[in-house]
Symmetry: C2
Subunit: 306 residues, 2 copies
């Protein structure tokens, strides 16, 4: 086995034991709370981990793009949820091909999306499962009220090649209770209209750990939980010792006593900080902070003694 010193940098290192422990821990939590787990694979994009997640008990996987779903289908994953409005002839044709080989479900939040789906999927013997996306506070996609959800659910239910699959939301961080109340209202109104929610699907790693048995949510789509990161740690989900993904970098310059430059910049470390200060932790170097990024350089500020 090669030594870490043989690796060219920047390199992503994955601690497989930690990732497996994170998979098991989330599955145990879901099992204990009667939740089905449908991990979001956009965090890792690796069939290797998707299969591990399913083997641990997940009911299937979640993908964000058709391209991701195609890769996972090629690798043998059998139950794929694509919670996205799929629009346009090119993507609808790929979606139809995918539906021919895996158990597929998607979402819609508009009549426009449903028109495309209904025109593409017309086989009553093999309908496409469509969940209604609900904006329960996140302010992104989704119908704005339970009444709108019912309207779309009826359209789905009446389309020959579609079947109503339930409700889906990506809740605002920390507002799972508000989302739950929204979804419960919609679920009960749908039931009164004779439409059963087979699935009520929610997502977001931090809130998963706060979801309990009193929720109407039936399935959860955590993504980041497999590797965790410093944002999750800041939100109280595990510690840095639970984080399974790190970037191995080389110090390429040390121009002053308080400044070091890494060969890992915004492309290797991400400039997407989710509001956290600075750009990363340096493991094992107390007092060293990544204070700036350009594309191929990371600037580290060293405090005294670091």
């Amino acid at each position: 086995m090669p030594s870490i010193d043989d690796l060219d940098t920047p390199a992503i290192l994955i601690d497989a034991a930690r990732a497996e422990a994170n998979i098991k821990k989330a599955q145990a939590h879901a099992d204990a709370h009667g939740l089905k787990l449908r991990p979001h694979i956009k965090t890792h994009k690796l069939p290797y981990w998707a299969k591990k997640q399913v083997a641990a008990g997940a009911v299937g996987i979640t993908c964000q793009k058709i391209g991701e779903a195609e890769v996972m289908a090629d690798a043998g994953l059998e139950d794929i949820f694509l919670p996205y409005n799929i629009l346009g002839r090119a993507k609808l044709e790929r979606l139809k091909a995918l539906h021919g080989r895996v158990t597929l479900s998607v979402t819609a939040d508009s009549h426009e999306t449903l028109e495309g789906l209904a025109a593409t999927f017309t086989d009553a013997g093999h309908p496409l499962s469509v969940l209604v996306e609900c904006d329960t506070g996140m302010g992104r996609c989704g119908v704005q009220s339970p009444a709108e959800a019912i309207t779309l659910a009826k359209v789905i239910d009446q389309a020959k090649g579609l079947s109503f699959g339930g409700l889906m939301t990506y809740p605002a961080a920390g507002r799972a209770a508000e989302a739950d109340a929204w979804l419960k209202t919609a679920r009960d109104a749908l039931a009164a209209a004779g439409l059963e929610c087979k699935r009520i699907s929610s997502g977001g790693t931090p809130d998963m750990w706060r979801s309990g048995k009193d929720s109407v949510v039936t399935e959860y789509r955590p993504g980041t939980y497999i590797y965790l990161d410093r944002y999750q740690v800041a939100k109280g989900v595990g510690t840095l010792d639970d984080c399974a993904l790190t970037v191995l970098a080389t110090v390429v310059s040390h121009p002053t006593a308080s400044r070091a430059i890494l060969d890992s910049g915004s492309k290797a470390l991400s400039s997407d900080t989710l509001g956290l200060p600075e750009f990363g932790e340096l493991l094992g170097v107390p007092g060293a902070r990544v204070t700036g990024l350009s594309e191929e350089h990371g600037t580290v500020t060293l405090s005294d003694g670091a």
Copy 2:
């Protein structure tokens, strides 16, 4: 020729006529000011454009990584500058292979970097050109004083397989005059020590247009100038009508009167805003602003009437 409606989204669109006009304009400016142009290809990463830049009069190209340089060498580019401290056996071996097939130059700002280069390049008949990187105010890599530059220049000059190529800097934005004074001091001290600066290389698109004949800089490495972007427009370099690269997106959701969601998020549009407010301009839609990004969603806020 396919219509724009046939393109799947998100898609990058490049207006070739605008890019060619930007190439010509920069070359004309450089020619008028006695500057050599050595465009940075990390903006486009396309041999097609690198060849156009050289055909327009550039003396060669600049790459930020060995992998980029290898692609450009494979495509027939013949003069490549890699302004980076190259460290470690794997990269030094690739650098040596590259030196065997193109006119190559690199930079160094430390004895550690020079030790690796001197141990790898030992052929006095075909030396590697090494420029000293100077921190003239940017606060990233580079020696901190002209005196340090002279020390390293002497080490390069005395290494059998290396030749001293001059000075290189990436100046702090808007502080080109300060950088120029720094470089002039170093150049004159090097000359007094018998070391000629064959090249004094500077970079950064906005400041290129302010560089004049009174500068000690002999070559410029602009990158973004080929496509421009809203940061350059904010800095007064051209207008949105000069920008050659746009992203074609689809509105996948329009959940409220004031909110639309694009299929283009941080991966398609970049979360790297360089300090600009918000995340992009929507061409032809006055009053619409990209106010939020997640990985595969862009949130657009629409003012009244947009």
